[in-house]
Symmetry: C2
Subunit: 539 residues, 2 copies
C-alpha cells in the first residue's frame, strides 16, 4: 500500500473541493471526535463533498495518498458511534452538503434523495408542496439523515418501519472511483428502478449496509401515502409478567396482517426517560431507580409496567376492524386507548376550556405528552426522543444545540434481535436486567415488532460522561451484557464501535467472505476501515 501522506491528501482535497469544504482545525476535529461511547478516535480532517463527482475525487486522492476515509451522512448515529471513525486519523467524509431531493413520485409513493437530506428537510418538502406522502421517522431527531439510518438498517414505527426494506436503487462510489448503480438503475432508461428492488442478476444492495464496501451517494426510498384513516394506540399493562402475554397476543395479529406497523413495547423506565431525567433528588442519589419510586412515578404518569404504542392506518373499515381485533387481543392485560385527529382536537378544546381547573391542566399535559409520539407516527420528525440520552445527567446543559446531544451524554445501545415470542422477550429481559442493575444502571427496555416474526430489543446504558467512575462501570456493563447476548444467541442487529469487534469469531466463514469481497472492491482498505468488518491486512 501507498505510504500514508495526509498533508499531501489534504492539499489535493483542498484543490478539488475548495478550501471551504476541507477543515482540520482543532475545534472542528474536537466536534467530530465527540461521542457518547467511551472511545473517541480523532479524525485527521473533515471533507464536505457537494456532488458524486467530488466523492469520486476524494476516493481517488485517498488511494493515491494512502488515507483512510470515514463517510457519514449527517453524523447523528447517536449511541452507535455518532460521527466517529473506528480508527484514529481518518478523513471524515461528511455528506451533509449533498442534500438534494432528486425526485418525488406521488403516484408510486417514493423519493430519491442524497445522504445529506435530513428527516426534517424531507418532511418540510412534502408538506410545503402538498405531497400526500409520509416518511417513517426514527427516534434520532429531526436533523438525522434518512439515508444514514437506512444504511445502518435503522427502523421507525410505521408500515415502512424497516428502512432498508423500503430502499430501492442505490448509487455508490467505490474505492477506485467507479460509480455503481444497483437494482435496475444501472440501465440507462430503466422504468422500474425505484419500484422493484432486485433488478436482474445478483442483488448487490445488501452489501452496502453495515459495511465499508463503498460510499452511498443516492438512494430511492418508498414512502407511505397518507392513509384515509389514521389512529394511534397505546396499551398499558400493569404487571411485569404481562410482557410475554402481550407479545404472544400481538404476534397472531402481526402474522395475519391485522397489524402492519412496527409496534414498540417499552417498559416504564423507557417512558420515564423519554419524558424527563433521572429523579436524583427523589431517589436520594441512589441508582438504579428504586422499585417503590418506580411505582410512584408510574402512577403519577399514568403508565403501565409495559407500554405498547403503535398505529393503525388504511381505510375506515380496516381501521375499525383492526381496533376491534386489538381490543379483543389485549383484553385482561391492561388498558388500551385510541387517539385520532378528532379526539386530539376535542381534547385540546376541552383542555383550553378547563384550563383553570386541575383536570384541564392534567388533560393539557397528557395531550402535550402524546402529541410528539402521535405526530412521529404520522411522518412528523421530533427531537423529543433525544432526551432519553440525557436520562442520567446530573447537570444537563440546557442550552445545547437543537438536534445535538449534550457532550456529557454517555450512551451505549444494545439491540438484540429476538424471535417474536413471549418466552424470548422474557429471556432477554431476564438476561440483561440483572447485569444492568448490578452496575447501577436502569434496565430501560423496548421491544419493537419489526417484521411479522422478529422483534428488536432495545436496551441501553445511559450514563454521565463527566463521572469517570460511572463511565468505567458503563464500559464493564456493556462488555458483560454483549457477551451474555452473544452467548445466548440473541445477536444484536447493529452495534456501536465498541461492539463491532465482538461480532467476529475466528474461522467464521461469513466474515471471511465479507473480507474477500472487501479485498475485491477496496483492496487497500481506504473506505471506513474497521466498520463492522475487521480491518484487512494489506497484501
Amino acid at each position: 500500500m501507498t505510504e500514508t501522506d495526509i498533508p499531501r491528501a489534504i492539499h489535493a482535497w483542498q484543490q478539488e473541493l475548495g478550501a471551504d469544504n476541507v477543515a482540520f482545525d482543532a475545534a472542528t476535529l474536537d466536534r467530530y471526535a465527540q461521542t457518547t461511547q467511551d472511545n473517541a478516535p480523532r479524525p485527521a480532517c473533515v471533507l464536505w463533498p457537494t456532488s458524486t463527482e467530488k466523492v469520486q475525487a476524494i476516493v481517488r486522492i485517498a488511494g493515491q495518498c494512502g488515507a483512510a476515509l470515514y463517510p457519514i451522512s449527517r453524523g447523528k448515529n447517536w449511541g452507535y458511534g455518532d460521527a466517529c471513525a473506528p480508527v484514529e486519523g481518518a478523513a471524515i467524509v461528511d455528506l451533509s452538503r449533498m442534500n438534494r431531493i432528486i425526485e418525488i413520485n406521488a403516484e408510486l409513493a417514493y423519493a430519491v434523495i442524497e445522504p445529506g437530506v435530513s428527516l426534517q428537510q424531507l418532511h418540510e418538502h412534502l408538506t410545503q408542496n402538498d405531497i400526500p406522502l409520509w416518511i417513517d421517522c426514527t427516534g434520532a431527531g429531526c436533523d438525522a439523515s434518512f439515508v444514514g439510518n437506512t444504511l445502518d438498517r435503522g427502523f421507525g414505527h410505521t408500515r415502512y418501519g424497516d428502512h432498508f426494506l423500503s430502499a430501492c436503487g442505490m448509487e455508490i462510489v467505490l474505492a477506485d472511483g467507479r460509480v455503481l448503480n444497483t437494482g435496475f438503475t444501472h440501465y440507462a432508461n430503466a422504468r422500474a428502478g425505484r419500484v422493484y428492488r432486485y433488478g436482474v442478476g445478483p442483488s448487490l444492495d445488501g452489501l452496502f449496509c453495515q459495511s465499508n464496501f463503498g460510499i452511498v451517494t443516492q438512494i430511492g426510498m418508498w414512502l407511505q401515502p397518507v392513509p384515509d384513516r389514521f389512529c394511534f394506540f397505546a396499551i398499558a399493562a400493569d404487571r411485569d409478567e404481562s410482557l410475554g402475554a402481550l407479545v404472544d397476543r400481538l404476534r397472531p395479529l402481526r402474522l395475519d396482517g391485522t397489524l402492519t406497523t412496527a409496534i414498540h413495547i417499552g417498559n416504564d423506565l423507557r417512558v420515564f426517560s423519554a419524558k424527563g431525567r433521572y429523579p436524583w433528588a427523589e431517589a436520594g442519589g441512589q441508582t438504579p431507580l428504586p422499585e417503590d419510586l418506580r411505582a410512584v412515578m408510574r402512577k403519577r404518569q399514568g403508565i403501565g409496567v409495559w407500554n405498547a404504542v403503535g398505529s393503525l392506518s388504511g381505510s375506515a373499515a380496516h381501521v375499525r376492524a383492526a381496533k376491534r381485533a386489538l381490543r379483543r387481543a389485549v383484553r385482561g392485560l391492561g388498558r388500551i386507548v385510541f387517539v385520532n385527529d378528532a379526539l386530539l382536537a376535542l381534547g385540546s378544546i376541552a383542555a383550553s376550556c378547563l384550563s383553570w381547573t386541575p383536570f384541564g391542566k392534567r388533560l393539557s399535559e397528557q395531550l402535550a405528552a402524546v402529541k410528539p409520539n402521535y405526530d412521529l407516527l404520522r411522518g412528523v420528525p421530533t427531537d423529543v426522543p433525544l432526551l432519553g440520552a440525557e436520562w442520567r445527567l446530573r447537570q444537563p446543559n440546557e442550552t445545547r444545540d437543537p438536534g445535538a446531544l449534550d457532550p456529557a451524554c454517555g450512551l451505549f445501545w444494545m439491540s438484540p434481535v429476538v424471535p417474536m415470542t413471549g418466552r424470548d422477550a422474557r429471556a432477554v429481559t431476564d438476561l440483561l436486567a440483572p447485569i444492568l442493575t448490578e452496575h447501577g444502571f436502569d434496565a430501560l427496555a423496548t421491544f419493537t415488532l419489526l417484521n411479522e416474526r422478529a422483534m428488536i430489543g432495545i436496551f441501553n446504558i445511559a450514563f454521565d460522561k463527566t463521572d469517570p467512575k460511572e463511565t468505567q462501570r458503563a464500559v464493564t456493563c456493556y462488555d458483560q451484557a454483549m457477551a451474555a447476548l452473544l452467548r445466548e444467541g440473541y445477536v444484536p442487529y447493529r452495534t456501536g464501535l465498541r461492539g463491532m469487534p465482538k461480532l467476529h469469531a475466528r474461522g467464521d466463514v461469513f466474515w471471511e467472505i465479507a473480507a474477500d469481497i472487501k479485498r475485491a472492491l477496496d483492496p487497500h482498505g481506504i473506505i471506513a476501515p474497521g466498520r463492522y468488518l475487521p480491518p484487512i491486512v494489506d497484501p
Copy 2:
C-alpha cells in the same frame, strides 16, 4: 486454470458419491439436455449429491479437474432454461436427492428446507402433520423446487408471493468448498436466524440469487399461517381499454394495504392457454388467433378481455372490508365474483343435483375450472398451469410424465418489470403485442401486482419445436421483443439462457462489480459459468 479433465473428475466423483449418484449415459444426458428454448447445451454428466458434505466434495474435485458445474434444484425452470447449463460439457449438480425438510416452526411460521424439496412434498408434509401453514405456490407445477424458484426470484400469488423476500437464512457451498451461512445463521446458537433476514454486518443473501457465486444447499422460508377467512376473487373486464383503469384502481388498494397479495391480471389468451390448446381446427390453421374467434371463445368460457384473480385473507372483518373496497374500486369496469369454501361446497351440491340439466353441467364445469386456481391460492400446488406450455402443440403427447413437459413444447418467457400504472401496462402491451402478432404468435399476457409499486409483466412465445420454421420465427421474435423491452427500459426480472447475454452492456459498472465478486469467490469460474454473469476470463 487447471486443464479440464472430465474423465478424471467423473472417476473421482464416483469414488466420492458412489456410482449410483453419477451418470453419463446417453439417455440421461439427453434428458438433461432437453429444453423449451432453442439451444440445448449437452452436459458431460449428472451428479446427485445427498448432503452438503457431498456438494463440498463435488466442488473440490471440480476445482482439481477444471470442470464446470451447473447446480439445479429439481430442474423445472420451464421456459427459462429448464435444467440446462449455459455452456456445453458441464457437470449438472442435481440437488433433488437433498430433499430434507429440516425444520418447521408453526408458531413463527417458517420452514427450513433443502433444494430438492418440491412444492408437493412440502404441501403434503404440512397437511399430513396438521401444521396450519400454507406455502406460496407457483405455476411451475407440483414437482418444482421451492428453493430453485426462490433463487431465480420467482413468485406466486399470495401475501408471500415474492419468494426471495420470504427467504431467511441460507447455507451455501462456495467454489473452494467453504460453507457460508447467511443472516444470523453463522452464529452457532442464533435464535433469530430464521426470523430476521439481515443478520448483522453486510447482508450477503442477495448475491446468491440469479448468479453463480455458490451452491445453495439450505434455506429458511416464511410460510403463511392458515388465515381465519379466505376468499378468492375474479374480475372480468370486457374491454381491452380497461387494462389501464384496472391497474390504476387496484394500485391505491395495494398501497394502502387493503390488498396484500400478488394479484394476477391476465388477458383472454392467457386464460385460454390455461384451459386447453390452440383451436387449430376452428382457426383453420391460421395464426395468431383471429379476433372473431377470440371473441367467440371469450363468450363460450365466460371470461373478459382482461381477467384479474387474487385472494383476500385475514380476519372476517378485514376480508369483509376488503371485499367492499374491491367491489367499489372496479365498479363500471367489469364483473366481480367472490368464491369461498362455503360457496364452493354449495356449488358442488347444486351441480350434482342439477347434473342432468345443461345448467348443472355448465356449473359443474365452471367449478372444476376454478378449483385448481382456488386451491393454488390456498397453498395447494397443481400441474394445471403447465398446460400453458402446450398451447401451440399440434400433436401433443397425451402420455407425458406428470410434472414434465412434452418435449415438443417450445417456450420463451419475457417478463419485464413494469411500474404499477395503467400507462405502463398499456405501453408494454402495445410494445410487445405487435411484435408477437407479426411473427404469428399470440400475445398471451399477464401482469402480476407483485409489490405495492411494481408489476411483473409475463408474456411468452409458445411454439411447437417439431416445426423448424415456427421455431426459427420464435427465436427471431424473442430477440426482437427483448431488444424492444430493453430499449424502452422495461427490463426483465429474469431471463432464460438466450436472454442472459442481452442484459450486459459494455462498461456497465454493475456487471463489472458482479464479475469482481465472482473472481473473488470463484476465481476459476467453476460454478455455473455464463449464468446471468458473462463467463469470466481466467487469469
